[in-house]
Structure formats: C-alpha cells, structure tokens
C-alpha cells in the first residue's frame, strides 16, 4: 500500500522548497540537488569525488573567486570546438553543485588542452587550468569510466613511460598515424632498424625504445612510480596494464638482484652479458 502523502506536500519546485524546510520535511538546500538525475550509487560516488577534490591542498589556492566575466571561456581554444567552458566549471565549484561537477567531469573535462590561457588572463587570478587538472587527477584515482575511456588509446605510451621512462619510441611513429607525411618520410620509416643501428650511440640503437636506461635506472624509476601512488591510480583505470607492468617490475628486480649478487661474489662474467639488458 502506498504511503499516504502529507497534505502539505508541495510540488518539487525550488520556490516552494525554499520557503519552509521543516514544514515540508525537505532537506536543506546544500544537501539536495533539485536537478539530480543520478542514481543513488552514482550520487554517492559524485559526492565522495567532489569532497576528495575539495579537500585537496591545492583547491583553495587555485579557486579564489569569480566575476563571471567570461574571459576564460572566450580565450579558450577548446571552447571554440566543444560545449565546454572554464567559467561553467568555476561556477559549479563555487556553488558546490555536485551533480553538475560530476557531469562536467565525465563529459567535458577532457576537452581542455592545458594551454593555461584562462589562468593567465583571469582577472581574479584563479588557477583554472590547475583546477581542471585536479578534476582529471581525481577522476583517474576514482577510476571513472570517462577516465578509462580517455586513457585507453594511451596504453602504449603509459607502458613505455612506466617501464622505461620513454614517452614515444621510434617504432610507434608509423605512416598510418601520420597521413600528412611526404614520400621521403614514409620511405625512411621503412628501414628504421637499419638507420638506427648506424647511430654511434649505444643508447639509441634500438627502435623499440627511445633511449636506453640502465637496468638499475629502470628499476629505480618503477619503484618511484609504485611508491608515489602512480601505479595505484593505474590499477583502477587499467587492471591488465597494471598487472603487466608489475610482472615486468618483479622480473627486473630479481634480475638486478641476481646480477648484484654475482658481482659481489666475483662470479659475474661481463662477456656473457648481452649488449642490452632488455634481451636478458
């Protein structure tokens, strides 16, 4: 049986709700969002997400105030092409509009190109591009679907950065990705292996890496990534890549320890080691 409605129940209209909370049994304005179309679970995550962003130590320094002048949006190169504007975000943040921030984070925040024009021109000295970066950082930490989606094409870059400290390797630069290449560039890209071998620098003789860190450097870099929490963020966004990188890390660490142990015992024969530790 449906519960009997109170006679004082008014339409769900902000003008009515704002009049008397106690009479209507309505929650105070800060605790409700009249436009919320989110499911209860989503809303819970949205609130947690926004609280995490707000409690970041950078938040209060970056967000100072807003004159609603629109200089940020009118100078924004992304606003020209997308339904996106920094002023929109600042306004939601200043009013604690959780639902709107949630929507903005899931749909729009990735349109920013981080050119920092808005930050530079803001007459109130807000660090707007920094606030966008905050939203992005936390959306990775919270493993939001939009973060997963946006990071998927960057798997290979993430892999090379996290394992070797290189962003791009020569064999990633292929003609199919660059339709504007001329015939000479296409021709040269075919025999990249041979050309790279001719470079008289050991670090650059392979095409599967941009430069060649030592085994110890690679292990140290990965340790830093693990200790600083980068790998934890990655675990939520891309579990497969996380597992793969952690396996590689374990392998390399044991290899390094093995070599060190042999060296200490004086059993290491350097002639038996391959040219590159990547071939171990």
């Amino acid at each position: 049986m449906a519960q009997a409605k109170s006679i004082l129940q008014l339409p769900d209209d902000p003008r009515f709700l704002d009049m008397a909370y106690d009479v209507q049994g309505a929650v105070p304005e800060e605790e409700r969002n009249l436009l919320s179309n989110l499911s209860p679970q989503d809303r819970e995550t949205a609130i947690k997400f926004w609280q995490a962003v707000k409690s970041d130590f950078r938040y209060n320094e970056y967000l100072r105030g807003c004159l609603n002048c629109g200089v940020c949006t009118s100078g924004c190169p992304a606003a020209k092409f997308y339904d996106f504007g920094p002023r929109e975000m600042i306004q939601y943040m200043m009013r604690d509009e959780v639902d709107k921030i949630w929507e903005f984070t899931n749909k729009k925040v990735w349109a920013c190109v981080q050119c920092y024009t808005c930050s530079m021109r803001c007459p109130f000295n807000n660090e707007i591009a920094g606030l966008i970066m905050l939203l992005r950082e936390y959306s990775v930490q919270f493993a939001l679907p939009s973060a997963k989606e946006i990071l998927a094409p960057y798997r290979r870059v993430l892999y090379t950065v996290l394992t070797m400290g290189n962003q791009v390797t020569p064999d990633m630069i292929q003609p199919d990705s660059f339709p504007d290449w001329g015939p000479q560039a296409v021709e040269e890209s075919k025999n990249m292996d041979v050309y790279r071998k001719a470079i008289p620098v050991d670090l650059m003789q392979r095409t599967d890496i941009g430069w060649h860190p030592s085994l110890q450097t690679a292990v140290e870099m990965m340790t830093i990534m693990i200790e600083s929490g980068v790998m934890d963020s990655l675990r939520g966004v891309d579990k497969d890549l996380y597992d793969m990188i952690m396996d590689i890390y374990e392998d390399r660490k044991s290899q390094l320890e093995e070599i060190k142990e042999k060296w200490q015992k004086g059993e290491l024969d350097e002639n038996e080691l391959p040219d590159s530790w990547l071939d171990l």
Partner: protein, 365 residues
C-alpha cells in the same frame, strides 16, 4: 593671521577649488603645476561633456580657472616639487622649473592635489591597443568628441561601436584590483554622445557590472537605453583581432548564457581604461614623504573621518590622489582640504586618528 602661506600641488579640479577657497579666506597660496596651463587632466585630455549633467567640461572648470587666475596666486607653471624640508611649524619647499632652476618657498601647510593618470591600455597586450587600428581609450575618445572629429581611420563616422569596461581596473593580472568608479558613467555618456552624432550607429557596451551609482542610474544607464537604444552585453572581451577593412573583431563570451562565444566585428572599439596614481603623483608622494595604501594611492590618516588629512602633519590631500574620484567629488575635497588647511595654519588644528593601529576584534562562534 598675516603671512600664512599654503602650497597647492596640482591645478586640477581639486587643486583649483582648494586654491580659490583659500584665497577667499585670505590665505596666500603658492600653486605648482607641471603643465603650462591650469585645469589638470580634464583640460589636458580635452574632456567633452561631464556626467551626469551632460554639460561641457569647460562650463565647470573655466569659472574655477578664471577665479584662480584673477585672485593673485603665486603660480609656478611647468614646475614640480623637488623636495620638502620640515621645519616644525612649516615647510621649506624647493620647486624646480623646466630649465632646472630651483626656487625655495616657505609655506605653513601643503595641499597635495596632483591627481591621477589614466591606465595605459598597452599594458593589456592582448587587447592590441596601439597596434590594431580603430582601438581607442575613453581618454582618446573624449578629445575626439570635444573636437567633433569622431571618425575611424577610414575618415568616416563609425557605424558599429563596442565599448569594453574595466580595462585596467578590477583586474589582478595588471595588479589593479579596485574599481575605478567613473568609467561606467563615462562610457555610458560617451555611448549617448556617439548616438547623438551618429544616430544609426550600433553601440554595444560590454560590462560585468554597471556601476552608474546613485542618481546616475536613470540619468545615464536607463536614459541610454530608453532614449538612445544603447545595447548592454554581459561579458568581458578577452582579445581583439584585426579584421578586414580596418574593422576590429572582438572575442568574448555572452555570460548571460553558458559557453556562448561571441566573435563580432566592429568599426571602432573603445577601452574604458581606469585610473591609477600615475608617475606625477608618485613623485609628489615621494618628495613629501607620504605613505601609500595597498592599491598604490596615497593614504589618508583616516579614510572615513579625516579623508583629506595625510599621515604627515601639515600635509593635506584632495582629489584623485587618494583614490578614483569624479570631478565633482574632487572639487568638494578641494574645499574640504582648504578648510582643514586654513584651520591648521591659523589655529594649529590637527586631528589625530589611531585608525591604522586599530584592529577590530570579533567574537568567533
């Protein structure tokens, strides 16, 4: 009470009114002016009509100038105050003229009324003032209006005009976080003057807030819409580009809607540049040893109770040296400073205030 002398620095509205009043009270005045004419910035930049009564600037200033000229004031034209020596009951002031000749004058009190300078819009480099043709400042437009030569670089009257408010005011990127107070009213007045001359022109004012405060609300803001159909668009323009045929293309956001970008061409763009203390007044403040407040203007001893008294005994302030002011406010302050100076030189009245030392205690709940 014979022999009292007061030095007035600057002959703008505030300096002139102070001089005139002191002469009426029978005090000798030494007037120092940097330019070769009396009248200050309104005369220098040839202001057209004054808001809110929309009467020519000369109607307001010329009686003051004539009154001062005929009152037998010792005037040093094209001169600056080089230094001041405090001698207990008075000051010895060294005045340097254009040729570098220094004259010493003994005075009992000083009124600093050296005023403001307009913000130089070239400091907002993204606006392209001085680079893109047909971008002007309100201070340039005043001269064009008073000389009746409102034309674009093509020599024809503008058909589409944009006025951008808050250039160099309310802007932390140039370090001016205050409102310059008069630019809204001046811009609205200029929009009406433009419509008066070119009735079929389209005039848009880009604003964040319209601050035609007090009685100016309907005299300017409402009137400009009722009688002149001036358009008001909410948003601050972020950059200007040079368009074809010497037009200026503006880039802004119509902030009444979300994410609505505006890219619109205009024949003429006017930047409503704000007020700053300027180098002249900074030099005066340095020579007199006056303190500056956080916006860079000269600090009065108590902004509420004693707005025309400086922090240094015997030195009074009048006009835009203490902050952005209208011409009528400056004239009023000139009178007030003259009265205070008169009390000081005749009876030695100097009010003290502990405003700077006081901290307001509030209960934290």
């Amino acid at each position: 009470m014979a022999g009292e002398r007061v030095l007035v620095i600057g002959s703008g509205p505030a300096g002139l009114s102070a001089t005139k009043e002191l002469r009426n009270l029978g005090v000798d005045v030494v007037l120092v002016e940097r330019e070769s004419y009396l009248g200050g910035t309104p005369k220098k930049l040839k202001y057209s009509l004054l808001f809110p009564e929309l009467r020519p600037a000369s109607e307001v200033l010329d009686p003051l100038i004539k009154g001062v000229e005929s009152s037998g004031v010792k005037t040093y034209m094209e001169s600056i105050v080089e230094g001041v020596k405090d001698e207990g009951k008075g000051f010895t002031v060294s005045i340097k003229d254009k040729s570098g000749k220094i004259t010493n004058e003994k005075v009992n009190a000083i009124i600093a009324a050296s005023g403001f300078e307009h913000f130089d819009s070239r400091r907002k480099y993204e606006y392209g003032y001085g680079i893109i043709p047909n971008i002007y400042q309100i201070s340039d437009i005043e001269r064009m209006l008073s000389e009746n030569k409102l034309v674009t670089t093509k020599g024809v009257p503008p058909k589409r005009v944009a006025i951008l408010l808050c250039v160099g005011s309310r802007d932390a990127t140039v370090g001016n976080t205050y409102c310059s107070r008069v630019c809204c009213a001046v811009s609205t007045k200029q929009a009406m003057e433009i419509k008066e001359r070119v009735p079929d022109a389209v005039v848009h004012i880009y604003y964040m807030d319209i601050r035609t405060y007090g009685l100016m609300e309907d005299k300017l803001y409402w009137k400009s819409q009722l009688e002149y159909r001036v358009g008001y668009i909410r948003g601050r323009i972020s950059e200007f580009m040079r368009g074809p045929n010497d037009t200026v293309i503006i880039k802004g956001e119509d902030t009444m809607n979300l994410n609505r970008a505006l890219v619109v061409p205009y024949d003429m763009v006017i930047l409503a540049n704000g007020m700053e203390l300027g180098l002249g007044s900074k030099q005066v403040a340095k020579a007199l040893g006056l303190e500056l407040e956080e916006h860079g203007f000269v600090k009065p001893i108590d902004p509420d109770r004693l707005p025309v008294q400086s922090t240094k005994k015997g030195i009074f302030l009048a006009g835009a040296i203490t902050g952005p002011k209208t011409i009528s406010d400056s004239i009023t302050e000139g009178y007030a400073a003259a009265m205070k100076a008169y009390e000081y030189v005749t009876k030695g009245v100097w009010d003290e205030s502990d405003f700077a030392k006081k901290r307001v205690e509030v209960a934290h709940h």
